[in-house]
Structure formats: structure tokens, C-alpha cells
């Protein structure tokens, strides 16, 4: 029984030992390109427990560490009648050559059943890029194409991936004649080829200076499949209608396409920057022949029709006459028709509306006139001529609208009044009734004077108020300072006040007292000191402190002491002495004033 158990255990465990463990690596080609085309490395390991391979660093080759694909399989082997289980794992890695020359992929190690097994090194040859063949759509085999007499049986390459074309309907036109500009972008018709514009948010349009463009930027058209160079392309188109605005040679600039093309081929992914530019297109623009009278300015092919909003009109009540011009041409140049005189009616306007006709049948420009019947009875809007230039026949063409008979019923208003219409500035519906004749001239002029420029007096009036305000503000500021700053006020008025006092000395009953008060008062006011009880000694101290020169101090003190002696000694001074002292005091005050002002500045 025990022997049976050992046998069973051996049957289970032995196969693992008996499995041939192996690791190998292959590449899908031996010669690779350096143009960014990827190639694939396949690592295969056989065994029981198989770990992930360790990808080594390969000089000159970039290998993506994350496998592009993985697969695993299990097979049963019978060796000498023993059934065994074999696991096989495969990894496919993407790689890209980074330089030209001989390259080596070092051994790749895989842990199989606890053993580190390595692959053999792989030798590769990296070469400059050859033209990658593009994947073709089934059925687009060039040899089966029916593209005329061309004998192009070559395989498409990346050079054939993208094409751009600029097409115009005509390169010899008249001023104002429409030119259809078409920008076409050809992408090789295969889902494996992608193209993307990379130089900005939108593909820029070519320059169209000298043309009036409708729409302002090329608009997308329907996509199509076209054969070019016997290859099939998916074509995206943009269209624009151009109207030359002046005669001469006008140029439609180059169309520039900068982008990237990615092609997924059987040989890997091919990547290519594309910088394509079309040639400029020169358009010969001929001037229009001498226009006939009444030429509307329109160039193209047009039809015109006239309608009234009602044919039952009332005298003095405005109705609307619409003239619609339809066709292919520059909407900006479609001028208003020349209205003939409509008897018994006043016409004003027009208001203009522009709209696009469906199915690209051109545009419609509607001119709406306000028509006011002035007399009752029958009224007919006569046929209206519309003159335009038809480039197809190279001459001017005149078309006519239909006549519109109308009936005008009498208004209850005074029929002698004249009704005048408004204008296109939004007042065409308002009708103002004025007198039947103009107002008479005025025989007295208001003032026959020559018109003159008003800027000198305007300048005066503009500048005078702020200048006056400035003077007033300065005055108010000083007044405020006088009221708030006593010292400033006393100092400001000191000289005037003392001069008045000195002037009274000669006529005073007590001249020495008056002179003394004048000098003391001046010093007290000038230096903002208390006048009451000030002696000559105090005055001397104040003048010394304020840096007044010694000779002026001496003069002041002498005058004051003379007055004090006369006052306290009882010896009145003579008139000559008083005069001399007064003069000395005046001189001292003048000199002190000058020094104080100088210091103040």
C-alpha cells in the first residue's frame, strides 16, 4: 500500500522535473530603420513556474519595458508513457533603434522553476530610413486603379501620405467677378494613416489681399474620396468666394500645412513631420468696360423682381415697395436700383437686407422703399431697370422688374398738404406733414459777422475759474493761519504796528513812554514774547537769543535805557533827542525786520 502511494507521488512530481526548461528571444526583422519605426522582440519561455523577464539595457536600442502583448499556453507531453504538463509564456516588446550601425540586444534573463535562464544575444543592423510603405485599403491597389494613362505601379510611401492643393475656378476675371477658392487636404485613404495639424488651433487660410471674401474665412465643404497619383485619398475641403476689388495682378497667397502623419504599418509605426506649402496663385483681374448709365455696381448673374406689400393704397399712407435682387455676385457691390420717377407718389429709402439663398444659389439683397401716394386714383409702379455686368458674356446686361398697378383711395386729410417721407435712418415710417410751400426768406440778418475760432476765449474761461479759486484758497489759508497762529499774526503785523506807534511819538504828551512802548512792542510782537513788564534787559536777552547782531541790540538797548532814564529819572528828553532816538529805533526795527525775514525764509 505504501509503495502505491510513493508511485502516485512520483507520477505527480516527476513531470515537473522532466519538463525541458528553455528561454529564447527573436526579433521580427534583422535590419531595422532609424526613422522611429518600431520593431518587436518576442521572448518565449517554457517550463513550470515562469517569472517575468528582466529586460537589460541595450546600447543604441530603446526597448519599452512594458510588454506590448503577453500570452500563455499549456501543453501536455507524454514521455515514455508519462504525461507531463508544459507551460509556455510569450512576451512581445516594442523596440526602436536609436542609431545606425550594428546593434546587439543583450541576453534577456527569465527565472524558470527557480533557475535563471538567459537568451542568446541578438545581432541587428540599423540603417537609415528607407521609404516606409503605407498600408493600403483593400481594393485600392494601384495596379487596379483606372486613373487614366498613368503607369504608376509603385507602392505608396510616407511621401504619399498627405497632399495639399489650392484650386481657383478662374485666374482671369473681371473686377467684382466671383472666384471660387478651394483648399483641399488629401490624406491617404487608410484607417491606419492619421494626420494631424500641429502648428496652431486652426489651419490658417492663405492671404487674399485685394479680394472681398465671402465668408471671411474658408468654410468647410463636404469631404470626398478622390484618386490622386493613382492612390486613393480622403479629401477634406474648405471653400471661399473671392471678389477682386481692383484691376491688375492680384495674388492668393500660399496655403501652409504643418502637421504630423502617423502610419501603422505591418512593419511598425511610422511617424513623419509634414510641412507642405502650395504655390501662390496669381489672378489677372481685368477692369470693367465703361459702364452704361444706371449701372448698379453689381457683377455676376442676377435676377430682380419688385413687390408691393399692398396694391390697395391710401393717400398719404406709406406703403413698402420691395425690389429683390438675387444671384451670384459680391453682395457689397450690389447697388440699389435706379428708381424711375413714380407719378403721384413720394419715395424714400431704401432700407437694405441681405440674406443667403438656400443650396448655395447665391444671395438676395432686398431694397425696401417707403412709397407715399399723394393723389387718389390709379398709380402704377413702372418697370424698374437693373443694370449689372455679366462676366459670362463680357458685357453689361439690363433686366427689368414687372410693373405693379395700384389703386389709391382718397384720404380724409386735407388733400392739399404735401407729405414728405423720412429717411433710411430709421424714420422712414414717420411721415411729417408740412405746408404746401416753403417758409419765406428772412429779410433781417441776425449778425453778419465772420465766423471766428472760439478757442482763445474758451481757454480763458477754462483757466480763469481755477486760477481765481487758487488765489482765493491761498488767501483763506493765510487768514486761517492768522486766526490759529498768534505768533505768526503778531510777527506779521509787528512792523506796521510799531511804525504807527513811532509816528505818534512826536505828537504824544509822553513821548519817551510812547517810544519805549513802540520798541518794546515791536520786539515782543516780532519774537512772540509777553510785552507786559518787559524791560530793556529782557529785550536784550530776547534779541541775543534770536541771534540779532550786537550793534542792533546795542541800539535797541540804548533807546530803551534812555527812555527808562527819562521816565524814572524825571528828566524829559528834548525834542531833538526824542527825534534822534525815534530815528535810531526806526532804523533798528528796519534792520531787525530784514534779518528776521531772511532767517524766516
Amino acid at each position: 500500500m505504501r509503495g502505491v502511494g510513493v508511485l502516485i507521488a512520483m507520477m505527480v512530481l516527476l513531470p515537473g522535473w522532466a519538463i525541458a526548461q528553455s528561454v529564447s528571444a527573436t526579433v521580427d526583422r534583422s535590419v531595422v530603420s532609424t526613422d522611429g519605426t518600431t520593431f518587436f522582440i518576442t521572448v518565449t519561455a517554457n517550463g513550470g513556474r515562469i517569472a517575468e523577464p528582466v529586460i537589460p539595457h541595450a546600447e543604441g536600442i530603446h526597448i519599452t519595458r512594458t510588454p506590448f502583448s503577453r500570452s500563455m499556453g499549456t501543453s501536455f507531453q507524454s514521455i515514455n508513457g508519462n504525461a507531463t504538463t508544459v507551460n509556455q509564456r510569450k512576451w512581445v516588446y516594442r523596440a526602436m533603434a536609436q542609431r545606425e550601425g550594428d546593434l546587439t540586444i543583450p541576453p534577456i534573463t527569465v527565472n524558470v522553476d527557480g533557475k535563471k535562464l538567459s537568451t542568446d544575444p541578438i545581432q541587428l543592423r540599423a540603417e537609415k530610413p528607407a521609404q516606409s510603405a503605407l498600408p493600403q485599403t483593400p481594393g485600392a491597389n494601384p495596379s487596379q486603379s483606372n486613373a487614366g494613362t498613368q503607369t504608376n505601379n509603385r507602392q505608396p510611401t510616407m511621401d504619399d501620405a498627405v497632399l495639399i492643393r489650392t484650386e481657383v475656378s478662374s485666374q482671369d476675371v473681371y473686377v467684382g467677378e466671383a472666384i471660387e477658392l478651394k483648399l483641399k487636404f488629401y490624406k491617404f485613404n487608410s484607417p491606419s494613416v492619421n494626420a494631424r495639424y500641429t502648428a496652431g488651433a486652426a489651419v490658417p487660410a492663405p492671404t487674399t489681399e485685394g479680394f472681398y471674401a465671402v465668408p471671411p474665412l474658408p468654410a468647410p465643404l463636404d469631404d470626398a474620396i478622390e484618386t490622386e497619383n493613382r492612390f486613393e485619398y480622403y479629401v477634406s475641403s474648405w471653400g471661399q468666394r473671392l471678389f477682386p476689388t481692383r484691376p491688375g495682378k492680384l495674388t492668393i497667397g500660399s496655403w501652409h500645412w504643418v502637421g504630423r502623419v502617423v502610419a501603422y504599418t505591418s512593419g511598425g509605426t511610422a511617424n513623419r513631420m509634414i510641412d507642405e506649402k502650395t504655390d501662390p496663385i496669381v489672378v489677372n483681374v481685368r477692369p470693367l468696360p465703361d459702364p452704361p448709365r444706371g449701372f448698379s455696381g453689381a457683377v455676376g448673374q442676377f435676377s430682380a423682381r419688385a413687390t408691393m406689400d399692398t396694391t390697395q393704397l391710401t393717400q398719404g399712407v406709406p406703403a413698402t415697395l420691395r425690389i429683390a435682387v438675387q444671384g451670384m455676385g459680391n453682395p457689397d457691390a450690389i447697388g440699389a436700383p435706379k428708381l424711375p420717377d413714380i407719378a403721384k407718389a413720394q419715395v424714400s429709402g431704401p432700407d437694405i437686407e441681405i440674406s443667403n439663398l438656400p443650396q448655395d444659389r447665391g444671395i438676395e439683397k432686398v431694397f425696401s422703399y417707403s412709397l407715399v401716394p399723394v393723389e387718389p386714383g390709379a398709380l402704377e409702379v413702372p418697370p424698374i431697370e437693373y443694370v449689372y455686368f455679366a462676366p459670362a458674356i463680357r458685357q453689361y446686361k439690363t433686366i427689368k422688374t414687372n410693373a405693379i398697378p395700384c389703386t389709391v383711395t382718397e384720404s380724409s386729410e386735407n388733400t392739399e398738404l404735401i407729405v414728405s417721407g423720412g429717411s433710411t435712418a430709421g424714420s422712414s415710417d414717420s411721415v411729417r406733414v408740412v405746408g404746401s410751400d416753403i417758409r419765406a426768406i428772412v429779410s433781417t440778418p441776425r449778425g453778419l459777422t465772420i465766423g471766428r475760432s472760439t478757442w482763445p476765449e474758451n481757454t480763458v474761461f477754462a483757466l480763469f475759474p481755477p486760477i481765481g479759486f487758487g488765489i482765493f484758497a491761498l488767501f483763506m489759508r493765510r487768514q486761517k493761519k492768522f486766526s490759529n497762529d498768534t505768533g505768526y499774526a503778531r510777527k506779521y503785523h509787528a512792523r506796521t504796528k510799531s511804525q504807527k506807534r513811532l509816528a505818534k511819538v512826536a505828537t504824544s504828551d509822553t513821548p519817551t513812554e510812547t517810544l519805549y512802548r513802540a520798541v518794546i512792542g515791536y520786539i515782543a510782537d516780532t519774537f512772540n514774547a509777553n510785552e507786559a513788564g518787559m524791560t530793556s534787559g529782557d529785550a536784550r536777552m530776547i534779541l541775543l537769543e534770536r541771534g540779532i547782531p550786537a550793534e542792533l541790540i546795542d541800539t535797541a538797548v540804548k533807546v530803551l535805557k534812555s527812555c527808562e532814564r527819562a521816565h524814572y529819572g524825571g528828566n524829559e528828553l528834548s525834542a531833538q533827542e526824542i527825534g534822534a532816538l525815534t530815528d535810531a529805533a526806526g532804523s533798528m526795527m528796519d534792520a531787525t525786520d530784514a534779518i528776521v525775514k531772511k532767517k524766516g525764509r
Binding site: P247, V347, S423, I441, P445, I450, G451, P466, F469
Partner: protein
């Protein structure tokens, strides 16, 4: 010689000379010689006399002579000087009724229409006087603010300043508005460029109003109310704003 010429020029431009031309113009008009009347009034315009009555009478003379384009231009000139000249308003309507299409003048910028709508019917002198008055009033209020404290005076001063600035802006825009002209010939071609050889872009009729964008060598680049733009000879236009272009020979019937 120079002195004599100067003296003659001064004599010719004295108020007496102006009065004489005016009276002769009125007399010719009353004698139904509208061509002569227009010539006398045109002489006054050529002498740079700016009196709304002269333009009004000139408009009447042209109207009677069957030239609605010139009549419209002169009534417009009258109303530019005195928007309250009701007789000119009425006669302008009559003249417009005689014109073929009456294309209105292009509207001014939107901000002007929104901000200065109240000034539409005020003349430039009135606006100028208002601006000066409120400007002086503002500084007076400001001085009053400096002098003593008065309730609400600061707010009133601010309002007066705003009014003064608005009046000033209105007067300035009136003095510098886009020049307008009236087509005075029966049919005037507007071309792509200032040359007779250029292609005709659109046509203007007598009495149509256009704005003048540019003047160059006897040509004017005009734009219409519906956005059309082209070059026309200046001889086919009468400018509504000074400097006025006058016809030397007066109207032709």
C-alpha cells in the same frame, strides 16, 4: 499797392459790405431772380459769414432754383447753427421731399447717442455757454466749500462738476463731429479709388447725406448710413460743416 489791396479787402469785408450783399440777395429773391439771390448769399458764405439766416435764405434760393441738394445742405447748415430754427426744419422737409432718395447721414458713435442725447437740439453756442456756466459754478461751489461749511454743498459741487463735464463733452463733440456732406449733383458715382478710371462701387443721388472720412486732391472718401464707402469728386458735394465749399457761379436752372 499792397496797402491799397489790403484797404480794399478790409472795405469789402466790413459789416456794411455784408449788409449790402444780404439786402441785394433778399431783393433779388423777392424779384424771383433766384440765381442772382443765391450768388449774393454765396458771396457772404465765401466771406466766411456765419449767420443762420444767410444759410436759410440761400437754401430757399436754391430750392426755388430747383436744386434740392444745395437747398438741403444749406438748411442743414442753418440747423447746425441753430437747431431751433423751425422754418429751416420745415423747409428742409420740403426739400427732402423733392430729393430722389434722401439717404440719411450716418449716425454718430453709440456712446455719443447714449450719453449726449439731451444735447441733440441744442446749438454749439448754447452748449458752450452751458459748459462755461457750470464750470464757473463748480469752482464757485468749491470756493464756498473752502470758505465755510454748508450742508450738502460737497454733493452739489460734485453734481455741478458732472454737469459741467457733460456740457463740455457735448460742446467738444459738437465742434469736432464727423463732417457731413450732401450730394448736390443729380447722380454722383462713388468709386473704389480717387480716380475717374476706378470702378464704380455705388451711386449717390442728389440730396443724399454722406459722412466724409477723408479728403484728398479734390476727392472725398464718403461713407453712407448703410455702410457703403467710396470716393467721389468734391465738386459733387456740399459740406454741411465749415470750411464750406461754395459754388462760384451760383445755381443753374
Amino acid at each position: 499797392m499792397t496797402g491799397i489791396v489790403l484797404a480794399l479787402m478790409i472795405a469789402a469785408t466790413t459789416p456794411d459790405a455784408f449788409s449790402n450783399s444780404f439786402e441785394r440777395g433778399v431783393a433779388a429773391y423777392q424779384a424771383e431772380d433766384y440765381t442772382a439771390a443765391a450768388e449774393f448769399f454765396e458771396q457772404l458764405v465765401a466771406s466766411r459769414v456765419e449767420d443762420p439766416v444767410v444759410f436759410f435764405n440761400l437754401g430757399n434760393a436754391y430750392y426755388r432754383a430747383g436744386r434740392p441738394g444745395h437747398a438741403i445742405a444749406n438748411y442743414e447748415r442753418t440747423l447746425r447753427m441753430d437747431p431751433g430754427f423751425f422754418a429751416a426744419q420745415d423747409n428742409l422737409e420740403m426739400a427732402k421731399a423733392k430729393a430722389r432718395r434722401n439717404l440719411a447721414p450716418p449716425l454718430g458713435p453709440g456712446w455719443q447717442q447714449a450719453l449726449l442725447f439731451w444735447a441733440e437740439n441744442l446749438s454749439f453756442p448754447a452748449l458752450r455757454l452751458m459748459a462755461i456756466f457750470f464750470w464757473c459754478l463748480f469752482w464757485l461751489c468749491l470756493a464756498l466749500c473752502v470758505w465755510r461749511t454748508v450742508p450738502y454743498l460737497r454733493g452739489i459741487t460734485g453734481v455741478v462738476l458732472v454737469v459741467a463735464l457733460l456740457c463740455g463733452l457735448a460742446a467738444w463733440t459738437r465742434a469736432h463731429r464727423e463732417p457731413i456732406a450732401v450730394v448736390v449733383e443729380e447722380l454722383v458715382a462713388a468709386r473704389y479709388g480717387p480716380d475717374e478710371g476706378e470702378t464704380v462701387r455705388f451711386e449717390l443721388f442728389e440730396g443724399d447725406h454722406v459722412a466724409i472720412d477723408l479728403r484728398q486732391d479734390g476727392w472725398a472718401r464718403v461713407s453712407t448710413v448703410d455702410g457703403e464707402r467710396g470716393w467721389t469728386p468734391e465738386s459733387g458735394l456740399a459740406y454741411v460743416d465749415p470750411p464750406y465749399n461754395t459754388t462760384s457761379s451760383g445755381p443753374s436752372e
